[in-house]
Subunit: 197 residues, 2 copies
DNA sequence: AGACACCTTGACTGGTTGGTCAGGTCTGCT
DNA sequence: AGCAGACCTGACCAACCAGTCAAGGTGTCT
């Protein structure tokens, strides 16, 4: 049985944890910081989660589905170019709407993904392999250019997530302007040229 | 006056610090770990550097020049397309040869670049602005396509550094194979298509 | 209202970590 | 050899941090 209070507080804690973990990394975050952001006491955090580690795992677990949704949303029956362009657009949208989620995963992967369970990484691999096979079929059908499917996927990740993960750097260079200004037409052009058979 | 021992030990410390900071981030790294890798005692580390922070600053300072060398190496007199392709190749080469440096900067920027001095970021901005102006001239001269120079630079960074920074993820997906396998021809094709007028 | 489970917290603990210091050892020079 | 200064370290400290606990507060159901 989960009560109303439980739902509300677990949500507050995970929100705060996302805020702090994404900005400081796992090791850099402290329970006191998370407690402060959540507006709860530290022992209370540990009443709802067994440990800092459990909090982090719960976050990754919950967010992975959201994070991979655009990839799952690709339609094998659709037109190759249109589907890949749409995927890229959705990923860019994710960087705009969920920059903290992007940085959370970036932090985790950057440190060698020590807290991403084998199960999780297995799911990811399966999904990517399936998508790569799908892209190969689109290539065979002559819908897109003959390019490596894996590197294509990596380049979509790299280009879209860069705007969320390296926000600070882009802001410095662009005098604080919105880092994603002009990103969409640019990536549109880039992938249009790349995919054209 | 700097002695031979000073040079040798400072080098050992900075090497070890790069190893540990790049893998764990600033907050995640401990002086004990660095001391262990360097083969020196912790107090000895602090004999050569005032603090953990000073160590980190010295590293960033020393490595920024190396890191930005490819950008400085662009030749304004050269052919636009050839120069940009060469820059991309050099950056990819950096990701292959200096993945730790890449991750060090990635960690720093990801956390909002709190330890990158204004001076450093100012230098970077100036250099990027100059390069952007140069790219605009190449566009005017009809040597490359009409694309946003800043986003072009960001996309070169994103695509090349991704292979170093997200190494762990790519390895998972590609079953431990060398993440950069096939990256060069892929990026060659991508930027060739992108830059063509 | 009363009972009972659920929720909350101040005070604490044990371990870690950045940094200090007094005193020791080594090196290069004369 | 002997000396000065550079180099090195064990022992220590204060701050920080994840996690514990006993005690009290709160919501809910009858």
């Amino acid at each position: 049985m989960t009560t109303r209070i439980q739902r509300r507080n677990r949500r507050k804690i995970l929100d705060a944890a996302l805020e702090v973990f994404s900005a400081q990394g796992f090791r850099g975050a402290t329970l006191d910081q998370i407690a402060g952001v959540a507006g709860l006491s530290k022992p209370n955090l540990l009443y709802y989660f067994d440990s800092k580690e459990a909090m982090h795992r719960a976050l990754l677990d919950e967010l992975l589905d959201i994070w991979l949704a655009p990839l799952r949303a690709m339609n094998p029956e659709g037109d190759g170019r249109a589907e890949i362009m749409a995927y890229m657009r959705r990923k860019l949208q994710m960087s705009r709407e969920y920059p903290r989620e992007s940085r959370l995963f970036a932090n985790e992967v950057l440190q060698g993904a020590p807290r991403l369970g084998d199960e999780i990484s297995g799911d990811l691999k399966t999904l990517v392999d399936e998508t790569a096979a799908l892209i190969r079929r689109w290539i065979k059908a002559g819908q897109i250019a003959r390019i490596d499917p894996y590197h294509l996927i990596f380049s979509i990740w790299a280009l879209t997530q860069h705007y969320a993960d390296f926000d600070a750097q882009i802001r410095m260079i662009r005098d604080g302007a919105d880092p994603m200004d002009g990103a969409e037409p640019y990536l549109e052009e880039l992938f249009d040229r790349l995919l054209k058979p």
